[in-house]
């Protein structure tokens, strides 16, 4: 459903889309069943001359089952939903790949700074490539991002990856991603951060290994 | 215009007198307010061991004396209540005056304490600990002031032997203010 609106560009994007579909199906079935029941009653029990209403207290067992049965099914569905949600959540936010390249993301009013590791593959060394409002990553490669903010809350949101994480001043927050789709995409700030919140975007470039190396050679030369 | 008292006010379908019932709900809402302050403080306290060092600069003696002052004033409130129970409004009013005196003493000690701390450079912006110290104690002190003012008002009717049930209610409120202090004192002064 979501992928028809926004391309699905990371390893976990499909999981999130799938979870969303699962939830839509479950609650959709209930929603339309409830609605059907509702509309049927409106037609069936509309006021008609000479037909008085019945006196029903709600304690009649044969009527109560119409409430308790769907109710039991809802509890089952809830369990299903929770399991699905937690599995996706664990994969995206709780588990963390080890020994992969780290990319620094720093939010501030109202720009993003991306600190790329540079040719040595390590961050916080002299060949780091810091770029404003442009993020360059290699496709099919796992990264860990290190998210910080220098002033207020921001939120690092990459819709194509289905990734979102708030940046909190005073804290360092880690997360991961692995892009599966090359191209240029949008990055937005998704947390109110002042009057420039509405322009705090950045561009994301997902490149093949060769393109990425070429970019690095060129950017590493000019910056530093 | 005579005071308007609706019939509603004289009913007691729950069995608890209306004034007291309202007071209980008021205390519930106060408990969550102080609960919020204390929970926020504790979260910071646990995350910042250095709070303990800063707490060492508070004046434990002043705090202890103030605890004692408040407990005594609570005792006076109890005596006022028991006088009111016996229908002796005059005596109840007298004891309430003592309670108010306790409140004033508490505030004076507090003021002296704060003055000396501020002179030593520990102001509300010095550190999160001091921010909490002044804010929590300040919110508490404002309740002390409010309680004293309400007591002044209760005294006016009590000494004419009217609305004696108010003596008990204001006393209950006073005990609450006291209990809050019992929580604040160790947390702010001696949690090192």
């Amino acid at each position: 459903m979501i992928e028809s609106l926004v391309p699905s560009g990371s390893t976990f994007a499909g999981d999130i889309d799938g979870l969303f579909v699962l939830i839509c199906v479950i609650v959709g079935v209930f929603f339309f069943a409830t609605l059907g029941m509702f509309l049927w009653m409106l037609v069936r029990f509309r006021a008609r001359d000479g037909v008085p209403a019945q006196y029903i207290t709600g304690n009649e067992p044969h009527l109560k089952t119409w409430i308790t049965t769907p109710h039991a099914i809802i509890i089952l569905c809830d369990v299903l939903l929770i399991v699905g949600a937690l599995r996706v959540w664990y994969n995206v936010k709780q588990h963390m790949p080890e020994d992969v390249e780290v990319i620094g993301v720093v939010g501030q009013q109202w720009a993003w700074t991306f600190v790329h590791a540079g040719p040595d593959g390590k961050i916080d060394t002299s060949d780091d490539i810091a770029v404003i409002d442009e993020m360059h990553v290699q496709v099919d490669k796992e990264y860990v991002f290190r998210l910080e903010s220098v002033d207020v809350l921001h939120s690092f949101s990459v819709p194509t990856w289905r990734l979102k994480q708030d940046a909190v001043p005073g804290r360092v927050i880690l997360g991961w991603f692995e892009a599966t789709l090359t191209g240029e995409f949008g990055i937005q700030c998704a947390e109110m951060c002042g009057i420039g919140h509405g322009i705090m975007g950045a561009r994301l470039f997902v490149e093949t290994a060769e393109e990425h190396a070429a970019w690095m050679a060129q950017a590493g030369g000019t910056s530093s | 215009m005579a005071e308007f008292i609706p019939v509603a006010n004289t009913r007691s379908a729950s069995g608890v007198p209306t004034g007291k019932l309202a007071l209980y709900w008021l205390l519930c809402s106060e408990i969550v307010i102080f609960g919020g302050v204390l929970a926020s403080y504790l979260m910071h306290r646990l995350a910042h061991p250095e709070f303990g060092l800063q707490a060492a600069h508070t004046n434990v003696y002043a705090g202890t004396i103030n605890t004692f002052v408040l407990l005594t004033s609570s005792l006076m409130a109890v005596l006022a209540h028991s006088a009111a129970e016996h229908g002796d409004g005059k005596k109840a009013a007298k004891y309430l005056w003592f309670t108010i005196a306790g409140a004033l003493m508490f505030l004076c000690i507090k003021a002296a304490e704060w003055t000396s701390e501020i002179q030593h450079g520990y102001t509300i912006t010095s550190s999160p600990f001091w921010s909490f110290y002044y804010t929590a104690a300040g919110i508490h002190a404002s309740h002390v002031i409010a309680g004293a003012l309400v007591m002044l008002w209760v005294i006016q009717s009590a000494k004419k032997n009217k609305y004696l049930y108010r003596v008990e209610n204001v006393g209950l409120y006073w005990h609450f203010v006291d209990i809050v202090w019992i929580f604040l004192f160790p947390l702010l002064y001696i949690a090192k």
Partner: protein, 572 residues
């Protein structure tokens, strides 16, 4: 005029009544203690504030549809103005429209009447509550006009943005905003105690707790929820105010504070708050559904338990607003579970309302249409809460227009559909005149269709990646495709249609108030106590003899009786 209840014959000679005195104009209208007038004051103030909230919605929706163009009645909108408009739209709609109208206006008007009392237990405290509320309303409106402009840091006011004017650039606006919200809380704490104690203590003789009408229960449960959840935020508001004015560092990481603490304090209140406004609205829907389908509520006690269950659970779900805010990811799992579980009591409640229709004789009067419209629209809002509550899916949906659509499908039904349900139903009692049914139905169909056209497209926008609080999407090429732009324009046009239909209501409301046909005491043939006194009730409500209660409020269509309703106060 049928006079089923005793006490009716006495209304016109209230001379002997012990507390009746001639009231001056000032006593009656400016400083009233009569619960009915205070209720009406709250109602009118709330409606006036709805015009502010609606005007902001109009202004920023116009900006979103046609960015940068001059907006009629507003002019050019700067980013700062956009943020202030969104922030104050949200704040005003929740705290100055939904709460005063649903809880305070209906609570004040209905509780004493429905429990058979002559007033609130503390009439002067009641008046004080309104006065504090009025001051708070003036302060929030004033905060928009101070130098620097109104506060624009979102209604959630997350620090450090809200705590430091170097970040938000609105030194006065943000402090006044905060003061206004805190004052509003005080007003509702004072009022809430009055409601709860009145319902607990001032019930008419014979009224057992199972004889209390559902809406009274709901308003009281809502007041208790409010009282139990707002405390920490009151403390937080003081702390934030000190951060703003004295530059303390409670929420400022540079000074050792913790910004996430505010989020916990805010949502520990904020989530129960949504049920604080939900419950009174569902209570009114329950009344209306029962009366207009001539049916006893299906499972009175079960409905009550679902309300209490929702209330209790609502204290354990708050962090579902903070899944990706930087809290420990393991915590999210607990909150996913509690959040999804809240569907259980609410689904049950909706099922019970629908079940009440079973076997009924449904009259599609205007109030009934609104009540049915509430159930329909709220179901959409409710089920779309589930994908948000599922942590995995919320990673994508958080702070997108999907959230906006979700909560407008809960808030619009509550604040407006719920209000219209109650207003059209109790209008005869409030003003002694009937509203026009034809205009009422035009207003209903126009509103209900427009509001779905307004908010349903926002689900699509959200799924396509539109984020909240962005004043101009042309800055984001992926988000300003013709398809998405047109969806936004469609929503805005629907809003214009929606607003146009509100004029029908406003006209109907004020015209009927003065010129409508005179209402009888019990036009809907209902059983609860408020319908057993004249319309509008005099000072003191029931005349000389306050009623005694013999049965529950929903004894409709009892077999073997010639009338299909059985007033609570009619001796057996």
């Amino acid at each position: 005029m049928n006079a089923p209840a005793h006490g009716h014959d006495h209304v016109h000679d209230d001379g002997g009544h012990h507390h009746h005195h001639e009231m001056t104009f000032v006593e009656k209208y400016i400083f009233p203690t009569d619960h009915k007038y205070i209720g009406k004051q709250y109602l009118l103030t709330g409606m006036l504030m709805a015009v502010f909230g609606g005007f902001f919605a109009y202004a920023f929706r116009m900006q979103l549809a046609w960015p940068g163009s001059d907006i009629p009645l507003f002019g050019h909108m700067s980013p700062a103005e956009y943020n202030a408009a969104v922030t104050n739209h949200g704040t005003i709609m929740i705290f100055w429209v939904a709460m005063p109208v649903l809880i305070a206006a209906f609570g004040n008007f209905l509780i004493p009447l429905m429990v058979g009392a002559d007033d609130m237990v503390f009439p002067r405290l009641n008046r004080l509550s309104y006065q504090i509320f009025l001051v708070s309303a003036i302060v929030i409106v004033a905060s928009l006009f101070v130098p620097g402009g109104g506060f624009g840091g979102a209604w959630t006011a997350y620090p450090p943005l809200s705590g430091d004017s170097a970040y938000n650039l609105t030194p006065l606006g943000s402090s006044l905003w905060l003061v206004a919200v805190a004052l509003e809380f005080v007003a509702f704490l004072v009022g809430g105690i009055n409601f709860i104690v009145t319902a607990m203590n001032a019930r008419a003789p014979g009224m057992k707790w199972t004889d209390v009408p559902m809406v009274v229960w709901m308003i009281c449960i809502a007041s208790i929820l409010f009282m139990a959840s707002v405390g920490p935020l009151m403390a937080g508001a003081v702390m934030l105010l000190f951060d703003q004015t004295l530059h303390t560092g409670f929420f400022d990481p540079r000074q050792g504070g913790d910004p996430i603490l505010w989020q916990h304090l805010f949502w520990f209140f904020g989530h129960p708050e949504v049920y604080v406004v939900l419950l009174p609205a569902t209570g009114m829907v329950a009344e209306v559904v029962a009366v207009h389908s001539r049916k006893k509520l299906f499972g009175y006690k079960t409905i009550l338990f679902t309300a209490v269950g929702t209330g209790v659970l609502s204290f354990f779900v708050w962090a579902h607003h903070q899944f990706i805010a930087g809290i420990d990811p393991r915590m999210a799992n607990i909150f996913t579970i509690t959040t999804v579980l809240i569907s259980i009591p609410i689904a049950e409640m909706m099922f019970l309302y629908i079940a009440t229709l079973y076997g009924g004789s449904i009259r599609f009067t205007t109030p009934m249409l609104w009540a049915l419209g509430f159930i329909f629209a709220f179901l959409i809002g409710g089920v779309t809460g589930i994908p948000l509550g599922a942590s995995g899916a919320d990673i994508y949906l958080h702070d997108s227009y999907f959230v906006i659509a979700h909560f407008h499908f809960t808030f619009f039904p509550i604040a407006f559909i719920g209000t219209f349900t109650g207003l059209t139903h109790w209008f005869p009692k409030m003003f002694g005149r009937m509203m026009n049914e034809t205009l009422g139905k035009i207003h209903f169909w126009g509103t209900i269709i427009a509001v779905h056209c307004l908010f349903l497209p926002m689900f699509v926008l959200g799924l396509a990646g539109h984020h909240r609080r962005i004043y101009d999407y042309t800055n984001f090429p992926e988000l300003s495709t013709p398809f998405l732009t047109n969806i936004g324009i469609f929503a805005t046009v629907s809003l214009l249609v929606l607003l146009a239909f509100q004029f029908v209501f406003v006209f109907n409301f004020f015209y009927s108030m003065f010129k409508g046909p005179v209402a009888e005491a019990n036009p809907w043939k209902a059983g609860s106590l408020e319908w057993q006194c004249p319309s509008p009730p005099p000072h003191g409500n029931f005349g000389e003899h306050l009623p005694t209660v013999y049965r529950g409020p929903y004894e409709y269509s009892v077999p073997g009786r010639d009338k299909d309703y059985w007033p609570q106060s009619e001796p057996a």
